[in-house]
């Protein structure tokens, strides 16, 4: 068990900087998910913790010990790879035992450790099989088993579920969560799938273009996104954004199309260009929300998903599309004009220039 | 091209490369440079002194009617061996590719001659075409057809071509069959639905699709005819009668090892080297294209 400290870590390849200074302290036993689009640097950061990429600048410490110059094998970590990276010519047993064998652990101890991992992961009947004789989910479990037997201080997961089909992914997600809380090993988990992130994480680090946009619990990240990027990345369908300007009172925002929304609290100087955000699920029929600004949404497309109905439309006089997520019982047709209003306290205000959050 | 993930030992890669590089330097690159150097030297008859003569050896070689003759012999020889062995191999491969029973058995029976040494192939054919004791050679002579490959230029050349081509068919067959079998059945079925008959399907679908293989084999066969058939010629005719079967390779050997004409042999070597380099360059341009063909 150990803490992980990432201090001002940077990574450059030749002229290009791909990690632009990241700080994060991960508590003992914590499950931190690094979430972001492809190319945001999340895998690179993970690989630097693993010791598979050199650290250009800054420090990484595991359990209080700076590991910058340590080989992967000396960092007391275990890693689960996206394509499992099982040794194809070794049996399940040999795959799990290989690292321990190299460490020079006595045979009896290896055997006990492998059998124990196989028991936890229900791999007992497959120990003599080769990876190619296993299903995707079973291979995934072997990869986890290989990580478990090492009894590491830290688990590193590099998109471990993205090669599985949707059903298996849900199942393995639950299994990973169960395993991690059972073993209470500090874990770093890289994914681009926000559902994985929301369900697995104690905290999520949302990354974009080499910086950590926000680190917070899943609900914090959802409720108080720190930037337009986070706000747009978390939540499906994505948050609606409307460009606008602070009103003279410093509490209302006038957006394109002539509408004006009043915020719960004052936030910025009058006249400042801002971006107003509201999530599709927070737009409700106007008659349910008294005293709110009404949006007249002209419906262009209706997606009936069963539980919900997602409506794509446009406010008269503006160009950007607006999405609303209504109950599945809503009767909506293309061409309707729906009066909608944001739920109280669910408006998000961002600086138009920096994209940073300004107020609730 | 390079892997993304590597090991970063400093000394180890050099140790790993050492044996290969040592053998390459000592037995390949050094002798090749020697050949280039010797090709500009003229040695007196007693081997006592040598003299730098620029390109005199080359002029001597290229104006020697014997050498020019051997270029002609080599061209006929290479074209015949390549055409004969590739043509037969393609025929067999198309037949074996047809959906018939026992394909595997035929394949097995046609493949093994690959394992024969060219010189052994030569002896096998000699035993059949020997003018006195050979089953076919003797029969020909008895039937009034004069047959003696030791006296008749055309017959000698025909025999070395036959033996050389015979041995190479299996190699070509393996590649043609693999190429034909790698064509997806659906493509051929689509052509059948489009109304193409078997003959038309072969010429418009299969043949163009195996063109890369054919081209590759063309290069391999020319190389084979140039270099690997030395054994056939040395065993069967020793380049004779006269110079009727003296290919370029046989000439280099004769000039260097028998006549001890170092400068001339070296000049011939360098000319052949240039030829191989050209051939390899063509082959590798082609291999790169092949990547796109999948």
């Amino acid at each position: 068990m150990a803490t992980i400290d990432i201090r001002s870590v940077r990574k450059s390849y030749a002229q290009t900087e791909v990690i632009k200074g990241i700080d994060c302290a991960i508590a003992d036993g914590e499950f931190l998910v690094m979430l972001g689009p492809s190319g945001c640097g999340k895998s690179t950061l993970l690989r630097m913790v693993a010791g598979l990429e050199p650290i250009t600048k800054g420090e990484i410490a595991i359990g209080g010990r700076v590991v910058n110059d340590l080989e992967p094998k000396d960092r007391n970590i275990a890693m689960v790879f996206q394509n499992y990276a099982l040794y194809p010519h070794m049996s399940v047993y040999e795959n799990m035992a290989y690292g321990l064998k190299i460490k020079g652990m006595p045979k009896a101890e290896i055997d006990a450790a492998v059998k124990e991992a196989a028991r936890i992961l229900e791999l007992g009947p497959f120990l003599d099989r080769k990876p190619r004789q296993l299903s995707g989910g079973q291979r995934q479990r072997v990869a986890m088993g290989r990580a478990i037997v090492r009894k590491p201080q830290v688990f590193l997961f590099d998109e471990p579920l993205s090669n599985l089909d949707a059903k298996l992914r849900t199942q393995m997600r639950v299994e990973i969560k169960r395993l991690q809380s059972q073993l209470a090993v500090t874990s770093l988990y890289v994914t681009h799938d926000q559902v994985e992130a929301m369900t697995l994480a104690d905290r999520i680090m949302v990354m974009n273009a080499g910086v950590a946009e926000q680190v917070g619990t899943p609900l914090e990240v959802y409720r108080r996104p720190a930037s337009t990027f986070v706000a747009g990345f978390i939540g499906a369908p994505a948050m609606n954004f409307m460009p606008g300007r602070m009103g003279a009172d410093g509490r209302s925002v006038g957006v394109d199309g002539g509408l004006s929304f009043t915020l719960a609290e004052g936030a910025a100087a009058a006249g400042r260009p801002v971006t107003l955000g509201v999530r599709p699920e927070h737009l409700h029929p106007a008659n349910e929300i008294p005293d709110a600004t009404t949006i007249a949404l002209r419906v262009e497309l209706v997606e009936a998903l069963g539980a919900d109905t997602v409506v794509h439309g446009r406010i008269e006089g503006t160009s950007g599309p607006i999405l609303a997520r209504l109950p599945g019982t809503a009767r909506v047709a293309i061409g309707d004009v729906l009066p909608l209003a944001p739920a109280p306290g669910e408006l998000h205000l961002f600086d138009a220039e920096t994209g940073r959050r300004m107020a609730a | 091209m390079q892997r993304r993930v590597i090991f970063d030992d400093k000394l180890l890669p050099y140790l790993l490369l050492f044996p290969q590089v040592a053998v390459t330097l000592v037995f390949f690159i050094w002798p090749a440079l020697q050949a280039v150097w010797q090709s500009t030297q003229l040695q007196d008859v007693f081997g006592l002194s040598t003299q730098f003569v620029w390109f005199e050896n080359y002029t001597a070689v290229l104006t020697d009617p014997g050498y020019v003759g051997s270029i002609r012999v080599t061209a006929i020889f290479a074209a015949s061996v390549t055409g004969l062995s590739m043509g037969l191999a393609l025929l067999f491969a198309v037949m074996a590719d047809a959906n018939i029973r026992g394909r595997e058995a035929y394949q097995a029976l046609l493949i093994w001659p690959y394992a024969l040494a060219p010189a052994v192939a030569a002896v096998l054919w000699l035993f059949i075409f020997h003018p006195q004791i050979g089953m076919v050679g003797r029969t020909l002579n008895q039937a009034g057809v004069p047959w003696d490959y030791k006296l008749n230029n055309g017959q000698a050349l025909s025999l070395v071509i036959l033996a050389s081509a015979w041995k190479q068919v299996s190699y070509n067959f393996i590649f043609f069959l693999a190429a034909l079998q790698s064509i997806p059945k659906s493509v051929i079925e689509a052509a059948a639905i489009d109304g193409a008959g078997p003959r038309r399907r072969f010429f418009t679908i299969q043949f163009p699709l195996i063109a890369p293989t054919s081209f590759f084999l063309l290069i391999v066969n020319v190389t084979y005819a140039f270099f690997d058939t030395f054994g056939v010629i040395h065993a069967l005719t020793q380049g004779g009668p006269g110079t009727a079967t003296s290919t370029l390779i046989y000439n280099v050997y004769k000039a260097g090892m028998v006549a001890q004409d170092l400068g001339g042999s070296a000049a011939q070597s360098v000319i052949l080297m240039a030829f191989v380099i050209a051939l390899t360059a063509v082959q590798f341009r082609f291999v790169e294209r092949r990547v796109h063909y999948g």
Binding site: - | R3, F7, V23, F27, F28, Q38, I111, P118, L126, F175
Partner: protein, 283 residues
Amino acid sequence: MIARRSWTDAIPHLVLILGVAVFAFPIYVALVGSTWDAGTIGRGRLPLVPGPDGWANYDQALFGDRGGRISYVPVSQMMWNSFVMAMVITVGKIVISLLSAYAVAFFRFPGRMVFFWMIFITLMLPVEVRIVPTFEVISDLGMVNTFAGLTVPLIASATATLLFRQFFLTIPDELVEAAKIDGAGPMRFFFDVVLPLSRTNIAALFVILFIYGWNQYLWPLLVTSTREMETIVIGITKMLGTSDAQTDWNLIMATTILALLPPVAVVIAMMRTFVKGLVDGDK
């Protein structure tokens, strides 16, 4: 499935049977020739069926001294020479190609591309085009009439190196990383992972190279001058001599059969591996 007509079905069989016959015929005749006495063959009256002298012919070829006409080396000795030559060339080529391909594929170091090209250009320098200077190197090193001279100059291999390198490039990066995390260094990774994964390639290459080694002609012709070092392929053509009616055709044919047996046996035993390796590798 494309509809077929029954009469066209017969054509492929016909052509292939004819082809197989043409291929098998010379071998069959040699086999028959090796079972009759020299006199029968010398009179040009070789029957089409095996004769009674097979046992005696093979026994004499393998172990005899040929009745004192010329002092021959027994074929068993030649076969041993050929076998040693083929095995050293095969194993040598595979080992040094594996090592150098591993260096080129798994390391980054100054001069990597120089070495790569140096190995690559050996493709363009077959022994046939540099006969005399190569022979001079061998004789300067005192390697004439030795197994070392017979084999070492042939064990550099650009083809095998390129083949292995290409295969090594397909080994997933994650496998290397998993090994690093498991604590395996480069040599451990080579022996525990790379080598076992290369098994199929090595097997296919073994067949191809064994045949290559066994069938060598020009090189043994140059570097061996004593009877004791003669390989079987060279031995046969030396036996031909003037190849007149008085030649010991029965013994030559027995020797020929013995010369083609080992490589043919290897091909037949490993047909599948060999075909796959040849087609995949020789591009």
